[in-house]
């Protein structure tokens, strides 16, 4: 297993020993005669409209000078009631809503949701191999796209604007790929229950290969601008340290958990799709500071490129949907020419896929962490209750514990390194 130890350019063990065990303690207000010298504290509203809160996160900071003594995140400004909306529509109709969760990686959300519903129907093991490979390609493209943005925004927050523009150049290429794949650049809605909307367009595999060769160059460029940049290292190293225990206690997932040295990746721990047949490493941090989380994301993108290369090489032929008209939408040309498929299509579209009663939970390794769908069904075409476990929401819960003791300027480094998306957090 490759770890971030390989990426560290200076003595990781020594660094681990030298790093403080936990985040610095907030300054304790001295009592008695010193209280007058303590001065007043200032309450600063950071957000919901602030350049570094990436959307509509609001953090109420209590500042002593520039030192944070208390931090209280306030979420919900982007709440749309997605979970309640899900109860009033068929399973397929909810797919477009998943685009708007982590809107930096809509393809990965589509895949996670489709897999959850398929698990409910008990058809998740019947997916044709080509469909599974295409879904893995979708997930990993989304991961590269989301991490590129996370990386660029992180760099921008600490002041390095150019990295942001450089990563956006590559994201543009991903959007072009997604556009030719799904017809939309942003709101993809690509998966269907039991398959994907359409097969890869002709020539797409070659375009994707070309992109992979180009994006690796971009990783190197971004890394040259940041990884050994003394100012960037000073702004991120030994800051916002999340210990292993804290990371697990607060339920962190994804790169934030792995940055703290916990080797847990849903793709390895509970393999879904064809992840168990693919070769890739899970990078793990050593200290759990902002710098480690940055390194983990950097390496995850390279591993995603590696996975994509394998998928494109091994891509099998065959159908992209389960040939079962009772639960999976039949191909359109069949609907227009054959009676049975027309009936299936009519029933599925008007009443939804008739799910068995019961409840399931499915979690997928999304760019931000474990995106989970809990579905409670009482039978019929709509879920009785659908709960989304949004990784950004859970990852933000550590802020009141993490921020105190740091300086106001470190807030942006820490927020940037936690890499959250409010669309998913507030859902």
């Amino acid at each position: 297993m490759a770890t971030v130890h390989n990426l560290e350019f200076r003595d990781p063990q020594g660094r681990l020993a030298a790093a403080p065990a936990t985040a610095p303690e907030p300054p304790v207000a001295p009592g008695g005669e010193l209280r007058d010298m303590q001065g007043e504290k200032m309450v600063l509203n950071m957000g919901p409209s602030h350049p570094a809160t990436h959307g509509v996160l609001r953090i109420v900071l209590e500042l002593d000078g520039e030192i944070i003594t208390r931090a209280e995140p306030d979420v919900g400004y982007l709440h749309r009631g997605d979970e309640k909306i899900a109860e009033n529509m068929t399973y397929t109709q909810f797919i477009p809503y998943t685009d708007r969760l982590d809107y930096l990686a809509p393809l990965a959300n589509n895949v996670a949701y489709a897999l959850a519903v398929e698990k409910l129907h008990g058809i998740d093991k019947d997916l044709p191999p080509r469909c599974q490979y295409i879904r893995v390609i979708c997930c990993e493209l989304a991961r590269i796209s989301a991490h590129l943005l996370g990386l660029g925004a992180f760099a921008m927050d600490v002041g390095a604007l150019t990295v942001f523009l450089h990563t956006f150049t590559e994201r543009e290429k991903i959007y072009n790929l997604i556009e030719s794949l799904t017809g939309a650049r942003f709101t993809t809605t690509y998966t269907r229950i039991g398959g994907v909307a359409r097969d890869l367009p002709p020539g797409w595999v070659e375009q994707c290969r070309q992109f992979l060769h180009e994006v690796v160059v971009n990783f190197d460029e971004s890394e040259k601008l940041l990884t050994r940049n003394r100012i960037f290292v000073d702004r991120t190293r030994n800051l916002g340290i999340i210990s292993r225990a804290d990371a697990i206690d607060y339920g962190l997932t994804g790169p934030n958990l792995r940055g703290s040295g916990v080797d847990f990746d849903m793709r390895k721990a509970h393999p879904y799709l064809v992840y168990d047949q693919l070769q890739f490493d899970v990078p793990v941090g050593s200290v759990g500071d902002c710098y480690d989380r940055y390194l983990v994301r950097m390496e995850e993108m390279r591993q995603s490129a590696r996975i994509l290369h394998q998928c494109l090489d091994q891509l099998p032929g065959g159908p992209v949907r389960i040939p079962n008209g009772k639960t999976v939408l039949p191909p359109k040309e069949k609907v227009l020419t054959s009676m049975e498929e027309l009936i299936h299509q009519f029933i599925l579209v008007t009443q939804g896929e008739n799910a068995p009663p019961g409840e399931i939970y499915f979690g997928a390794e999304n760019p931000k962490g474990e995106l989970g769908f809990y579905i409670n069904s009482k039978g019929g075409g709509t879920p009785h209750r659908l709960k989304i476990r949004a990784p950004s929401f859970v990852n933000l819960s550590i802020l009141p514990h993490l921020l105190p003791g740091h300086m106001m300027s470190d807030t942006v480094s820490i927020l940037g390194s936690l890499d959250f998306v409010m669309g998913e957090c507030d859902r």
Partner: protein
């Protein structure tokens, strides 16, 4: 030797006497310098946008053009595409926008702050020799014998504008920006002041013109005092509030910092102040360390005796300044931002001992050479 001037102003003007001539020529020089400075400020913004676009693989401003310019044969398309009209549009926009004064600000200081930022940047130019001779006239507005003391005295005032803006805005983000600015100033100014002392020890004079004549024939001080130059360079970045030291402004942390509450022309004054500061800092570096208007070859080391030579000296000086301006801009788009305690650490714990050691070593070497 002094050749008779080619165009003598006094020849066709009524005799104004010595004082009158001095006043008239100074006025002409001041108008010329301010015009050049303002144009450079305006176009520095354009260069900043173009260079950042080049670094970030973008196109940059290329849309603004005056009506009918595109119809000029051959040249037209270039004139419309290069964005050279952008500064005019920016300026007009700043004037026409609503000049909004929020209710909660302290009005007098709020109005005062942009001026206090802008004026010192322009005043500093007064002592900088931007050329040798033109028509027998020394190309410096005020040939002060205490040039550098004047410069440091005036430059320090610029920070008050920012502190004042942070105080006057009476809101939290500008307040933090103002505090950072004061903390920043005390940490770099001392190192900056100490870094130039060895220069004047070498020259033996505080007059900036004699600093330049000392550097004739390629004897540029940067080769003798590289440490002093590096410290001065970093301090110049801090002084101009540019990345990596733009903590008082830091858009992503303080949402604009001290100028959060400003709009319209008042904001534009802060903006122009920043660029004017860049120009004066570059001019200071060129004068103190890079030989001013001299070049070691082509006979450009001695004060000019002809009109063409004088103009060439001004061109050399401006060229050197522009190199530093591009360096300022390049650095801004390549580096992240320091935290302000890190700048204080840098100023107090690294640069202060370094400049003191540099001062001491220079003194020892000079003493050894003298004996």
């Amino acid at each position: 030797m002094h050749l008779p001037p080619l165009i003598s102003l006094a020849a066709w003007l009524p005799d104004l006497g010595h004082d009158g001539n001095f006043a008239l020529l100074s006025l002409i020089k001041i108008v010329g310098v301010v015009a050049v400075l303002l144009t450079m400020v305006a176009y520095a913004v354009l260069v900043e946008r173009k260079v950042s676009a080049f670094i970030q693989d973008r196109v940059g401003p290329n849309r603004v053009a005056l009506p009918l310019i595109g119809n000029i044969p051959v040249l037209g398309p270039f004139l419309t595409r290069l964005g050279i009209w952008q500064p005019i549009a920016d300026g007009v926009k700043s004037f026409l926008k609503e000049d909004f004064t929020p209710n909660h600000v302290r009005k007098i200081y709020f109005w005062l702050a942009p001026a206090v930022t802008m004026i010192p940047a322009f005043l500093t130019v007064a002592v900088i020799p931007f050329g040798s001779n033109l028509n027998g006239e020394k190309m410096v507005l005020a040939d002060l014998d205490v040039g550098i003391l004047y410069t440091f005295g005036i430059v320090s005032l610029g920070v008050y504008g920012i502190v004042l803006a942070g105080y006057a805005a009476n809101s939290k983000y500008p307040f933090l920006g103002g505090i950072r600015s004061s903390a920043q100033m005390i940490s770099y100014e001392i190192a900056m002041g100490l870094s130039v002392i060895p220069v004047f020890m070498l020259v033996g004079n505080l007059n900036l013109s004699s600093v330049i004549s000392y550097q004739a024939d390629g004897n540029w001080i940067v080769f003798r005092q590289p440490i002093a130059f590096l410290v001065f360079l970093v301090a110049a970045f801090a002084e101009t509030n540019r990345l990596p030291f733009d903590m008082p402004e830091s858009e992503t942390e303080l949402v604009g910092g001290y100028n959060t509450e400003y709009s319209s022309m008042k904001f534009a004054l802060f903006f122009m102040g920043e660029y004017a500061n860049m120009i004066t800092s570059s001019a200071m570096m060129v004068t103190l360390f890079w030989g001013g208007w001299t070049l070691p070859f082509g006979g450009f080391s001695e004060p000019a005796t002809t009109l063409a030579g004088g103009l060439a000296h001004i061109g050399i000086f401006l060229g050197k300044v522009i190199v530093f301006m591009v360096f300022f801009i390049w650095v801004r788009w390549m580096l992240p931002r320091f935290r302000y305690d890190q700048l204080m650490d840098l100023g107090w714990r690294r640069f202060l001992p370094l400049t003191l050691a540099n001062l001491f070593v220079t003194a020892v070497i000079m003493w050894l050479q003298a004996h």
